[in-house]
């Protein structure tokens, strides 16, 4: 009986665990935009703002880079340290959430009117739809 109660509590607690919410509003592999038609505001409405933005003054083109997901920066965990005490520890991955275009999962290229010109997957981790 006690075992069943304990298992119920553990399962309920596990199911209550949260998922990160600061990633893109939609999955990069599931969204579909039309080259020559989609405006950058539609991309922003669908995915959220890009993680990285760059503009070519010469061509007027704008490049928006998106990550697949928010980066893991570290974890905090508690460990019993004896005599009824619990201590918390932190483990860091060394990442600070900043990144460069070369790390982008998908890069959307817009013309000077904000219309989608191209969709690139520099790291080929995501099969982006067009």
């Amino acid at each position: 009986m006690l075992y069943r109660i304990l298992m119920t509590v553990l399962i309920a607690a596990t199911l209550a665990a949260c998922a990160p919410t600061i990633g893109n509003k939609a999955s990069l592999s599931e969204v579909s935009f039309t080259v020559g038609e989609t405006h950058k505001s539609q991309v922003a409405d669908t995915l959220g703002l890009p993680a990285n933005m760059s503009r070519s003054e010469a061509t007027g083109r704008e490049f928006w880079g998106y990550r697949e997901e928010a980066e893991l920066m570290g974890i905090t965990y508690a460990v019993p340290t004896g005599a009824g005490t619990v201590s918390t520890f932190q483990a860091s991955t060394g990442e600070d959430g900043q990144y460069e275009f070369k790390d982008a999962a998908v890069v959307y290229v817009f013309d000077d009117q904000g219309i989608l010109l191209d969709v690139r997957t520099p790291n080929k981790t995501v099969q982006a739809k067009q």
Partner: protein
């Protein structure tokens, strides 16, 4: 969330207390950085003269960090969002701060009303390049380039109030649906006639908001939510106990 009215009120009160505790903890780290207010003769001149206000945040970026509850441990995840071209934050905050100083009887004009677009771009470039903090000196005042200094003096401006945004940090707590916003900036008041810095310090705009599904809801509609939050936070920072007191515009017994 479901529940009785009393349960909802209790939950909202707990979230408010959590926000206050978290902000207090964050701001307590700033207590150790003593800021010297302006000297009394300088304050008199500042109040009598004309000032220009320039707020610059070149990075145009939001840095999110989220604490994700995972039952046996807490994950910290991070991501950035860039908003260049979506919101002219430099213009808006320059105007907000100018209004704040006007409300304190300091005759202040935002720089976009005083400088040409080329001059504004030059000023933004200089403020982007300047290192606000120095390991040896602490906060380093912004040094106004001669050409821009003369351009402002020619317009009858005596002082430049410059604020260089450092980073917009948003920490989200997925368990409570609460986000804390911390936006530090390096503030310098320069007497353009003598090219002397009268005041320099790291200040901050601090606020919080609730979210339903994602802390990034604040990006919707051209960052409307964030704009409103920072506008309110700026107004609050011009209350007696905050920025005016730090600058020395309000005496201790008035604060």
């Amino acid at each position: 969330m479901t529940g009785t009215t009393t349960e909802k009120r209790d939950w909202k009160m707990r979230k408010t207390l959590l926000a206050i505790a978290a902000l207090a903890l964050l701001l307590s780290g700033c207590v150790g950085m003593e800021t010297k207010p302006m000297e009394a003769p300088d304050i008199e001149g500042f109040k009598a003269g004309r000032s220009a206000m320039a707020f610059v945040y070149p990075e145009k970026r939001l840095s999110y960090q989220e604490e994700v509850y995972k039952v046996f441990y807490i994950e910290t995840r991070g991501i950035t969002s860039e908003f260049a071209g979506m919101w002219d934050i430099d213009r808006d905050l320059s105007h907000d701060f100018a209004r704040g100083f006007q409300g304190r009887s300091i005759d202040t004009t935002p720089v976009d009303a005083l400088l040409t677009p080329e001059q504004q771009k030059a000023l933004q470039g200089q403020m982007a390049a300047y290192q606000a903090t120095d390991p040896d000196r602490g906060v380093a005042p912004f040094s106004v380039p001669q050409e821009l200094r003369q351009a402002l003096l020619d317009q009858g401006i005596d002082y430049l109030i410059s604020a260089r945004g450092l980073n917009i940090n948003i920490t989200a707590y997925s368990l409570t649906g609460l986000s804390l916003v911390y936006f530090p900036y390096a503030l310098t008041v320069t007497d353009l006639r003598t090219n002397q810095s009268l005041f320099s310090s790291i200040e901050s705009l601090n606020t919080s908001y609730d979210f339903e599904d994602s802390a990034r809801e604040i990006e919707q509609n051209g960052l409307k939510g964030l704009r409103e939050l920072l506008d309110t936070s700026t107004k609050t920072s011009f209350g007696d106990k905050f920025l005016p007191k730090t600058l020395g515009l309000v005496k201790d017994d008035q604060g």
